[in-house]
Subunit: 408 residues, 2 copies
């Protein structure tokens, strides 16, 4: 008999019918002998509706009051789900953040959980009841309501699982697991049965938005086995685990990509210490986040410094770069918006040489030019022209044997 | 510099525009040097929307979960109003029931306030800030959310005013005060400047639904001066006060009426002790509330027993009466649905004989037959045929000089 934390997202509880469906799933899991603690998000669209109400009063509403407002979204869902469980003869009890309590700091809108009291929830489980906890929200030490930021319900689920020492934290969503790549780009993409936390972090940060990245970090830190499953179809989902992969298993777990970046190059900079700081300092001060950074030494005593930023920050980054280039007496500033970043992710590549070479060779054989390369222990990212995205993903997917036998 | 509790109802905060309007009113009152504590209801329609969601899951939802759900309505309003105040440069801070805290018993859906802690609210007032408190809700000693029942925000306002020893509790609504009678029936109806709590109780229970009756009782008990005003037009409203009326003032404060009653008569019952109990016992056991009760001794050793019930309970009351009549060997059961109750209310009538006689004479001179009479210290109610309602109200309004000189 396992203790499971099941988290259902906004789409999963988006209507009364779907809440009834979730209640049936929870009741069935309990029927199988498990002890269940449920975490739910607001019904899909509700948080946006509340946000719009607030912004119609003040474009920058008071952060405390905004959290007070947004916290109602999850409150509605927990009450409705508890009613639906009770109707099925399953004793249930809804919990707001302050009723658990889930203690947080006072960083309104992006609060961090500091402590969770488990006494009430465990007592319910002991008594055979199902606690239904509001995700996304907590309470600070003065009784102010706080929220954890977008996707914070995942974090609530993982934090509860850690505090309760649950056997598994199950994240129910509208996809049935983590895939080797985006099935819309490569139809032969395969659902992974298992993936490591590090791989998941790389895949998540690279654009496979299945889970909120903070919840994955949290699960890794507290060693909570995390499983991604579909609310709408049966199946084992993908288990995100701390365990090392068997040597027999594939070296590469997936291919991620990101179309939202822009590339900037400050070219022909005199090659002397402090160049990177001189360029990235003003960029950082403007609150622009930089993703990839590459510096090449040129032949004539100058160097080319290239980095990528989010496309939304492109205009401002160009402006700053032009000014810096002038100060540094650089030869030119070049930029590209028609790019895409493609990344190969897998803990397997740590111990296997030749992965990078194979990746570059695969792309070359398709006539795809690589504009930029960046590597870490478990991923290799390249920037290519965006028109080659599908071709690159499918070629790599095949080259690294990611497609399943039967396929998912 | 007065300490005022201002309560705004659902219609007053029914849209973002109206919330902005309320914020302006609060800001203006503060500008005039008053310390203000605001209580608000849910936006109009919101509580019904939530109730409908709950009932679509379970026609009889779990009471604890229903309160957990309904409490979100006021939570939305306090946050939005606090934002609107902050935008105007008025420091504001919203409070949920548990944050005040407003302690209640655990009677979900109809909880009673047991204790209010005023420390936080008074500290805000001291600091020049405006606390915005969620009406209708409280918290029991185990941290469960409770609600006070329909119209409970009035009760919250009065209870806060009592706890804070406020100078006045101002109930803002969509009418500009308490009138001598319904202006839709008698256009010359006049707004009363003052009215006593007892009169207000009689007027409220008789159908002038300006204030929730429990809040008036509460205000009377704790001697909180209560004022009814309009959110949408300026004016002094009506002050509901403990003070006795001057002898110079009119004897009668108003005329109330109620169209929702049905009249039942068990006729020709042998006149012996226990008849009233024999008839009303089974009615009470069926949870049917009885309003007026009249028993006349007949000439032939039998009596006629007449009472009124809400029209919704008419069918069931008839069924029970027929059965009882059979057991009692009564001659007949008669009933009437085409009736209306008209009541003259005023503390003045206590010390003045002749009011009843004048009332009956006025009705008689209009050819209106009285079917039933019931009196208390400060009211006289008659049941008449419903087609005479307008005629009766206007004739009495004129006979007792209720129309104002200038008129309101």
């Amino acid at each position: 008999m396992a203790l499971l934390v099941q988290k259902y997202g906004g789409t999963s509880v988006g209507s009364v019918e779907r809440i009834e469906h979730v209640a049936s799933k929870v009741a069935a899991a309990r029927e199988r002998g498990h002890r269940i603690v449920v975490v739910v998000s607001a019904m899909s669209g509700e948080t946006d509706r509340l946000l719009k109400l607030a912004k119609s009063i003040d474009p920058r509403p008071d952060p405390r009051e905004l959290d007070q407002l947004l916290a109602t979204g999850e409150q509605v869902t927990i009450a409705l789900l508890a009613m639906a469980l009770e109707k099925r003869g399953v004793p249930a009890r809804s919990y707001l953040g302050f009723q658990v309590p889930i203690h947080t700091d006072r960083a309104y809108g992006k609060a961090r959980i500091t402590r969770i009291e488990t006494r009430n929830l465990l007592a319910d489980c002991e008594a055979g009841a199902v606690p239904v906890v509001a995700g996304f929200q907590g309470v600070d030490e003065d009784g102010n309501l706080t929220t954890l930021g977008r996707g914070g319900s995942d974090t609530t689920g993982v934090a509860l699982a850690a505090a309760l020492k649950a056997d598994e934290c199950q994240i129910y969503t509208d996809v049935d697991g983590v895939y080797t790549t985006d099935p819309r780009v490569e139809p032969r993409a395969r659902r992974l049965d298992r993936i490591t936390f590090e791989e998941m972090l790389e895949l998540a940060s690279l654009g496979s938005k299945v889970l909120q990245i903070r919840s994955v970090e949290f699960a890794g830190k507290y060693k909570v086995p995390l499983r991604v499953l579909s609310t709408f179809q049966e199946g084992p989902g993908t288990l995100i685990t701390l365990e090392e992969r068997d040597v027999e298993e594939p070296l590469i777990s997936g291919i991620a990509f990101n179309r939202d970046e822009a590339q900037l190059t400050v070219a022909g900079v005199p090659d002397r210490p402090g160049i990177a700081a001189a360029i990235l300092g003003p960029i950082g001060e403007a609150n622009i986040e930089v993703d990839m950074i590459v510096q090449n030494v040129g032949a004539d005593g100058t160097t080319d410094f290239t980095f990528t930023v989010h496309r939304n920050d492109y205009e401002r980054a160009m402006e700053i770069s032009r000014k810096v280039a002038e100060d540094l007496q650089a030869k030119a500033v070049r930029s590209a918006l028609d790019i895409v970043k493609v990344s190969l992710v897998g803990v397997g590549m740590r111990s296997h040489a030749g992965i990078a070479a194979k990746m570059f060779k695969t792309l070359a054989s398709e006539g795809i030019n690589i504009r930029m390369i960046s590597t870490s222990e478990i991923k290799i990212s390249v920037v290519i022209e965006d028109k080659y995205l599908e071709l690159a993903v499918r070629a790599l997917h095949k080259a690294f044997g990611l497609a399943g036998g039967g396929g998912a």
